[in-house]
Each structure stands twice: as structure tokens, then as C-alpha cells.
């Protein structure tokens, strides 16, 4: 009686082994390291970069060990956290700021056999690792306004073309276009024209007599589309900017309808972070200078692309700027009739006008697009008190990303053709979009956790888990003796499984998450308490020991399931409604509930069976 078939023991052992393996990476303390990657993703970072960096470290007298060349980055391990910043400075100084990003990182020390099977340590949340969290809101009113402004122009020109003479066309409150007409015929003509040309607009007829109106607003669906576009555009732009910051594992994510979360773990210089995120538009369109142009009114720029630079070097462009990047509302890759790649560019209304004015009499000349990269370089200066201070110096670098012949007068929409490959088109479209935010954004939430507070939080978190666990272990042992020991083993297995599952899912550990683990420790023994008090009851009723064990486990089962499912419901709701910290708590709580069901029911039973099963037992140590 009370014996498990062999396969069940093996199953449990397998699960425990699985837990041990996947929880193990958390035991390996990561090495402080610096990571070197390229400014653009196309750059190849090879052994030569590593050699240069190591040389710089040697010269600076910083000891390092291990250098790994990955596909996109090079990683150099250091002996201590304190050496990270000096090492970063030394390497950045040697390699220059132009092409390489040097970031502080933590290099995993997980043995290769573990990482080969996908085992990796838990990620630490901002409250434990320190870092910056920004929540930004995309200003959707501005998007609507910008669009309505260009619609205003287009409505005017389309109505003129259709000979629907209007008294006036005005934009009111930045969101409604009012067109006024003198007669019913003109208005109905205008109405049918607008219906045909602008399906995105919702039209209403108002007024009487001499004062007939058509009022047009964007449809709900169109507004949503614009918002979606603006948010995803801003998201891309932010990602590019954040990459410049050199943060090891940044998070840039959309949240809700019009918000974007940016999380930069380990970032200490919040000022630099805010500045780079807030960087401005960085594109310029200029005409190519005529050969006879004066040097004072033209400038020479190089190509940004390596191969083009080698082939053509650069070009002279006029000083006069036609439009800047903030006028570009969209740039997408497309294909022309014969299947060649092209980039379709859309400008806002003002940009369209300026572009038209600049190009209609310049057909046949070439127009260049400049990409401006802004960088902040730390420069050491001596201030008035004679102290050394580090100042962020701003430098700008302009390079040509496209130089194409103007084939006709350009307007709000035009295209760049003659691109060699879809990949080139893709790159150009990305660069054209990368400069500008599609709509302004506002910082609506900002949280900064200093690195020392993060370290403190880890310490107190681990401490409370230790003391809480110890107290519960002692309490169970005193109350239930042998059974208590079984429950304690199960509790240990539960913790291992919880850590393993969290690591495997890539969940982030936060301080409330640790609180969730502590609470799980307290509540996980509940299943065992239920079973054991049931067994005691059955014994008191005069049931023989072995039967009592079976009855205890069987009778408590449905209660345990009911109790846990309801708690799980609550945890899921917590996850759904909560933000960052609350979600961390919800995740550990729900995973803890699930793993505790396994360990407390099956695990404990296995140990008890191993101990008492199949023997003649007079008395249970419970």
C-alpha cells in the first residue's frame, strides 16, 4: 500500500532534475564587462576591433580576461565593477565615437553546456538592477492637426479642379474643415468630389440660403490609423536613438493606445538618456550645387554608404536647405511597374509646398538627402574653480544618403528610384524615417532607481526570503515531524521549480516579485497542512496508518485544487490590470501556485510513500 509505480518516481526525479538545471544559471554571478557594437547594424565587428580594444585596455592598465567576438558585438570581461567606466572611456577613446558604441554590460558566466540547452538566469527588473524607466505619451492632437492642415490644401485644389467654386475653406479648431458655398449646385458638386477624393473624411451638410457649408472631420477609423502609424514610427525612431546610448538590454515598447515605455537598465546618466531620447529631426534635403556656384554658398559632403563613398567620394550641395526631416511624414519601400525597388516619400503640407517651389524650375538637376547624426561625447574640461568636470559635447555629422535626379516638379508625394537592391531601398526608407518623430511626445512618467538602491533591494529581498523560509521550515518540522520533513523537501523543490520556470519563461524578477516568492513560501505549505491535518483526523477516527495516509491525500485533493484555482484567478486579474511592479508580483504568485500544486501533492506523496509505503507501520510520526 501507498507505493508509487517506479515511473512516477522517475517522473518526479526528472522534473526535479529539470528544475535544478534550469535554475542553476542563477547561481553563476555574471562578470562585469564592456560590450562594443557598431553604430549601424550593417557594420561587421570582428577580431580586429577586439584587438584594438584590448590594446587600449593594456595601455590604460586595466586588467581584463576573455574576449568574445559575437555576430554583432564584442564582449570583454573585467575583474571589477569599478573598472567598467574607466574601461569604457579607454576603449571609446581608442576606437572613436563615430562608428562604435561601447556599453557597460554584465557577461553571463553560465557554462556553455547550460546555455546550449537554453538555460539562462532570470532578468533583474529596474528596481533590482537600477536604471531608468520613461513612459511617453504621443500627442495625438498634433497628428490630427498636421493631417487636417494638409487636407485643407488638398480640398482646395481638388475643388478648384472640379470647378466647385467655394467662398472659403478653413480649418477650425485644428480638427474640422469648413467649406462654404453660395449655391446648392456648387455644394452638391463639391460634396460628390470630396466623397470621391477623400474617403477618409466624414462629411456633414449644414447651413441654408447663401451660407451653405460642408463640414469635414477625420473618420474615427482614420484617426486610429494615424495614431497607430505615429506611435509605431516614434517607436522605431526611439529604438534607433536608444541604440546610440549603448545600453545592454533596453526595452522600447508600445503600451496601450498612444504610449511608449522606455526602460534602460543600468543607466546612471539620466540626463544623457533624456537628451538622446529627445533628440531632434535629422534630415535635410538640398539641391546639388551648380559647378559654377560660389564656394561660400555650397558645401561638400561625403556619402554615408561605404561602397558609394569609395566610388564617388562625395558631392557639393547648396547651403540652402529645402526641407528638414520633420517634414517627412512617411517613407516606404515600394516597387515600380517593372519591379525595381523604390522609396515612396510623403511630406506634410508645408513641406510639399516648399519642395514644389524648389523643384519645379530645377527639373534635371540632382537633389541630395543628408542624414545628420548627433552625438554627445564626454569631454573633460577645467571649470572656473579649477576642477575637472565632464561635459557632454554635442557634435553633428552630415552625410549623403541619396543623390537623385529630379525628373519632374515634386510635391507632397514623390519617389526615389534607381536603387540597386531592395535592401538598399529598405535602408534608405529606414534612414528617412529615423530622423523625425511622427508626432511630439511628452514624458508622462519617469522612474529612476539608483544602482545602490537596486543592490540594497536585492539584499533585503534575499534576506526576507531566507528568514521567511527558515521560519516556515522550523514551524513545519515541529508541527508534523517526519511529514513536516517531507513537506520541507517539497517546499525546497517548489522554490527550485519556481526559479527554473521563471528563468525559462524569461520573466523579470522585481522586488514585488520577491515578495510574491516569499508569500508563495508561506502559502505553498497550505496544501501540505490540509493533507496532514486530514491524515491526523483519520488516525483519530481509528483508521490504520496506511489507509489514513491514502484517505488524507485523497480527501484533501479537491479542496486544494479549489483553493488554488481561486487564488490563480486573482493572480491573473492582477497581471491583467497591473503595470510593472504589480505584474512582477502576479507572475511569481501564479507560477508559485502551479509549481506548489505539483510539489506539495505529488512530491510530498512520493517522499511519504518512499518512507512509509509497503511497510507494516504501527504509528505515524505526524
Amino acid at each position: 500500500m501507498n507505493r508509487y509505480p517506479i515511473w512516477k518516481y522517475f517522473l518526479i526525479l526528472a522534473v526535479v532534475a529539470f528544475g535544478l538545471i534550469y535554475a542553476a544559471p542563477n547561481l553563476y554571478k555574471p562578470d562585469p564587462a564592456v560590450q562594443i557594437s557598431g553604430q549601424s547594424s550593417a557594420m561587421v565587428i570582428g577580431p580586429d576591433v577586439l584587438a584594438n580594444a584590448q590594446k587600449a585596455l593594456d595601455e590604460a592598465g586595466i586588467t581584463y580576461f576573455g574576449g568574445e567576438v559575437g555576430s554583432k558585438a564584442v564582449l570583454i570581461r573585467l575583474n571589477s565593477m569599478e573598472e567598467q567606466l574607466p574601461a569604457k572611456r579607454a576603449i571609446q577613446g581608442a576606437l572613436g565615437h563615430n562608428d562604435y558604441v561601447v556599453a557597460l554590460n554584465l557577461a553571463s558566466t553560465t557554462p556553455p553546456w547550460l546555455s546550449d540547452i537554453g538555460a539562462s538566469p532570470m532578468k533583474l527588473g529596474l528596481d533590482l538592477a537600477g536604471g531608468v524607466h520613461f513612459l511617453m505619451e504621443v500627442d495625438t492632437n498634433t497628428i490630427v492637426k498636421n493631417n487636417m492642415e494638409s487636407y485643407e490644401q488638398e480640398v482646395k485644389s481638388k475643388l478648384r479642379a472640379a470647378k466647385a467654386r467655394y467662398r472659403s475653406v478653413d480649418l477650425v479648431d485644428d480638427r474640422e474643415i469648413i467649406a462654404r458655398f453660395r449655391s446648392e449646385e456648387l455644394r452638391s458638386l463639391a460634396l460628390s468630389t470630396m466623397r470621391k477624393e477623400f474617403p477618409q473624411l466624414q462629411l456633414r451638410e449644414l447651413g441654408s440660403g447663401e451660407n451653405l457649408e460642408i463640414r469635414a472631420t477625420l473618420t474615427e477609423q482614420e484617426v486610429k490609423q494615424l495614431e497607430d502609424y505615429a506611435v509605431s514610427q516614434n517607436l522605431t525612431t526611439l529604438r534607433n536613438r536608444v541604440n546610440e546610448l549603448g545600453v545592454a538590454e533596453p526595452i522600447v515598447q508600445r503600451q496601450g493606445r498612444n504610449r511608449i515605455v522606455v526602460e534602460l537598465p543600468g543607466v546612471q546618466d539620466t540626463a544623457a538618456a533624456k537628451r538622446i531620447i529627445g533628440k531632434t529631426a535629422n534630415l535635410e534635403y538640398r539641391m546639388e550645387a551648380r559647378p559654377d556656384e560660389l564656394v561660400s554658398s555650397k558645401e561638400y559632403f561625403e556619402y554615408r554608404n561605404e561602397t558609394q563613398r569609395q566610388m564617388y567620394g562625395g558631392a557639393w550641395l547648396e547651403r540652402q536647405i529645402i526641407i528638414k526631416g520633420d517634414s517627412v511624414t512617411n517613407a516606404r519601400v515600394g516597387y515600380d511597374e517593372s519591379g525595381f525597388p523604390q522609396v515612396n516619400i510623403t511630406l506634410d503640407a508645408r513641406g510639399g509646398e516648399l519642395m514644389h517651389r524648389a523643384t519645379w524650375k530645377n527639373v534635371g538637376r540632382r537633389m541630395g538627402t543628408l542624414f545628420i547624426e548627433t552625438r554627445f561625447e564626454p569631454v573633460t574640461e577645467i571649470d572656473e574653480n579649477g576642477n575637472e568636470v565632464t561635459v557632454q559635447k554635442r557634435t553633428e555629422e552630415r552625410k549623403i544618403i541619396s543623390l537623385a535626379t529630379v525628373q519632374s516638379a515634386l510635391g507632397k508625394q514623390f519617389r526615389t528610384t534607381g536603387l540597386d537592391s531592395p535592401a538598399e531601398a529598405q535602408e534608405l526608407a529606414l534612414l528617412l524615417r529615423a530622423g523625425a518623430l511622427a508626432a511630439p511626445m511628452y514624458f508622462v512618467e519617469e522612474r529612476v532607481i539608483g544602482p545602490s538602491l537596486g543592490a540594497d533591494n536585492i539584499k533585503v529581498g534575499i534576506q526576507s526570503v531566507e528568514y521567511g523560509l527558515l521560519a516556515v521550515l522550523i514551524c513545519m518540522l515541529i508541527s508534523y515531524r517526519v511529514f513536516g520533513l517531507a513537506a520541507n523537501l517539497a517546499l525546497a523543490v517548489n522554490l527550485i521549480l519556481l526559479v527554473a520556470v521563471m528563468s525559462l519563461l524569461g520573466a523579470t524578477l522585481t522586488l514585488p516579485g520577491i515578495a510574491g516568492i516569499v508569500l508563495t513560501v508561506g502559502m505553498a505549505v497550505d496544501a501540505n497542512v490540509l493533507i496532514f491535518s486530514r491524515i491526523r483526523e483519520e488516525l483519530r477516527n481509528g483508521m490504520p496508518p496506511q489507509t489514513a495516509i491514502t484517505a488524507g491525500f485523497d480527501n484533501a485533493y479537491s479542496t486544494i485544487v479549489d483553493a488554488n484555482i481561486t487564488t490563480l484567478i486573482v493572480a491573473v486579474i492582477l497581471y491583467a490590470i497591473g503595470s510593472g511592479p504589480v505584474q512582477g508580483f502576479a507572475v511569481t504568485l501564479s507560477i508559485g501556485i502551479l509549481t506548489s500544486m505539483f510539489s506539495a501533492i505529488m512530491g510530498t506523496r512520493a517522499i511519504i510513500n518512499l518512507f512509509y509505503g509497503g511497510r507494516r507501520v504501527q504509528k505515524l510520526w505526524i
Binding site: A271, L453, S464, G468, P512, I569, I577
Partner: protein, 333 residues
């Protein structure tokens, strides 16, 4: 009946275990619960919950001093720097300060657009600069939290909605799994616990922030856990024990589960104390809310849920497994 001992017409022992006459005090317990809930509501109405930064929006900065500062001095320095109306309190130790800045600062900060041309210094850095100038030792920026009022209001609404959804879903699950009278009992117990925890926070004027809200939801989960275990036993005994009044069956059930109720509450309280003492300032209120919740929840699973069952006149018929429809007809020739 051999399985139970009867004295003065009441069951005092069942299956070799002492049965306590819990329900004898049910009227008194009912009054106590009603008084507690009503006074909690009264405190909530008068004092109101002191919503933390997460819900109201605002800016706070936590700094660590190398040299113990005088709070009065710090306040004066902030005043002079233009942050009048800032509150400064010790946080954890006397060298750690928590500075809450007036709403105007948040308003200004949340107006900063990401396309702004000029270089923006984050508020935390500005405050630290001010404080560093006024202190002999170093001042370290430990934490900055700035939440726009709009975001705060949304979090608050979401939180309230979440609690409602939790209560409704749980009620449905209990009604499905047990019987509707039990779900009233369970929800009454939950409401009771949540209101008392909230009242406790309002009475002491403690900050109610996101983590405390998480704790309150966890209290819902915990208290439910307890209530379900007791209800489960009541259902079982109604089916098993013959010839006993509802009151006696409830007494038997509570007595049987009493050991487990105390043991689990005790182990949970143990870990919560560990959190309270070692978990640091940030989750202080979190663990406090849970401690109050677990204590009240233990009481409510004994007295509130059962009381509601008594009031709803729970009977054997409510709990018999449903007879299959048409089963009687089939037996007919």
C-alpha cells in the same frame, strides 16, 4: 449515534474531535463584523484613502546623504531653489530622505516634449544638485518617481475595476463549484476583509500605492482560500453527517478545519513578518496590508462566511448532488 457525543442537546464531540460551539457567538460576531465594516467605511468617508504617488500623480525623489542632514535645512534649501511646498521626511534611516515635490513640478516636467530642442536636465539631477550644494558630504540620488496626473488617474480606475472583476469572477466560480449561497458567503467575507484593510490604511493615514493595491488583491486571494477550505468541509459534512442541525454541522466543520486554518495563517504570517522586518522600506506597506488582511481573513473565514450561510438558511437539500433529470421517469415501467 456513535460517531458523535451529545451534551445538553448539542454535539460536543465528533469523530473523536472536540467540537467548539462557534455558532453560539455568531450574533455577537455578526455585530462585531458589522461595526468594524461600518466604522471602516466611516473612516474611509471622513479621512479618505491617502493615495500614493502612483495614483495621484506627482514627483518624489529619494536621496541618500553621507552626512546626516537636518530636515529643516533641507527644506529651506529646496524652498530657496524654488521648490516651495516640498515635503521632506526620513525614509528608512535618518540619512535617507524622501522628498515629495509640489504638483506644479510634475506639471512642468510632464510638459517637456521629446522633440524639445534644448537640453533637458531630469528633475532628480536638479534636486541632487541643490542638495549637494547645501551638504558637506556627498548626496546620492537613490530613486526618482514622477507620474503624470493622467497616468495616476488611469491606474486608480484600473485598480478599482480589477477588484470588481476579481470579486465577480470569484463569485461565479464559487457559485459554479459549490452553490450560490456559498458564493454570497465568500463574497461577503472578501468584501469584509478588503473594506477593513482599506479602513485600516485610512485610519493610520498610510500611503495607498500600487504595491498596496497588489497586497489587497492578494488578501482577496488568501481570504478566499480560507473560506473555500471551510466551505468545502461544510458541504462535505452536510452530505455525510446525518441528523444534525445546520448550526451543528457548521460547528463541526469549523472545528475540524481550525487546526489547518491556524497553521496556514501562522506560516503565512511568519513570512510576512520576515518581509516586514527585512524587506525594506519599499514593501513595508505591502506586507502591513497583507498582515492585517491575513488576520482579518482568518477571522472572516470562520465567522463571516458561515454567518451568511446561516442567515441564508443553508440546508441539506441545497447541497445534495443534483438528481439527474428524467432519472425518475426511466424507472417507471
Amino acid at each position: 449515534m456513535s460517531e458523535s457525543k451529545v451534551e445538553n442537546g448539542k454535539i460536543t464531540e465528533y469523530m473523536g474531535k472536540r467540537v467548539y460551539d462557534f455558532m453560539r457567538w455568531r450574533k455577537l460576531a455578526g455585530i462585531v463584523s458589522v461595526v468594524l465594516v461600518l466604522s471602516s467605511i466611516a473612516v474611509l468617508a471622513i479621512n479618505g484613502l491617502k493615495f500614493g504617488l502612483d495614483f495621484t500623480g506627482g514627483t518624489q525623489v529619494e536621496v541618500g546623504y553621507e552626512v546626516t542632514p537636518f530636515i529643516g535645512d533641507v527644506r529651506r534649501q529646496l524652498d530657496e531653489a524654488g521648490y516651495d511646498g516640498a515635503t521632506v521626511v526620513n525614509f528608512g534611516s535618518e540619512r535617507d530622505l524622501l522628498i515629495k515635490l509640489p504638483p506644479s513640478v510634475t506639471e512642468e516636467e510632464t510638459q517637456v516634449s521629446a522633440t524639445n530642442q534644448e537640453v533637458v536636465t531630469p528633475i532628480g539631477d536638479k534636486v541632487v544638485q541643490v542638495l549637494k550644494a547645501g551638504s558637506e558630504g556627498n548626496v546620492e540620488l537613490r530613486r526618482v518617481e514622477m507620474v503624470g496626473p493622467q497616468v495616476g488617474a488611469e491606474l486608480r480606475d484600473d485598480g478599482g475595476l480589477g477588484m470588481m472583476v476579481a470579486l465577480v469572477l470569484v463569485m461565479m466560480y464559487v457559485a459554479l463549484r459549490f452553490q450560490y449561497k456559498f458564493s454570497f458567503g465568500a463574497v461577503a467575507a472578501l468584501g469584509h476583509d478588503v473594506i477593513i484593510v482599506l479602513g485600516f490604511f485610512a485610519l493610520l493615514g498610510l500611503d495607498f500605492d500600487l504595491t498596496v493595491m497588489a497586497a489587497v488583491l492578494a488578501v482577496i486571494g488568501y481570504s478566499l482560500n480560507d473560506t473555500i477550505v471551510v466551505s468545502d468541509r461544510i458541504r462535505e459534512n452536510f452530505r455525510k453527517v446525518r441528523k444534525a442541525e445546520a448550526e451543528e454541522i457548521i460547528n463541526i466543520s469549523i472545528s475540524q478545519t481550525l487546526g489547518r486554518t491556524f497553521m496556514t495563517s501562522f506560516t503565512t504570517l511568519l513570512v510576512l513578518w520576515a518581509l516586514q522586518f527585512f524587506g525594506g522600506e519599499l514593501i513595508h506597506n505591502f506586507s502591513l496590508a497583507l498582515i492585517v488582511g491575513v488576520v482579518v481573513g482568518t477571522y472572516s473565514s470562520v465567522y463571516v462566511a458561515a454567518n451568511v450561510l446561516m442567515a441564508l438558511k443553508i440546508s441539506k437539500e441545497d447541497l445534495m448532488p443534483p438528481v439527474k433529470e428524467g432519472a425518475e421517469l426511466e424507472e417507471m415501467p
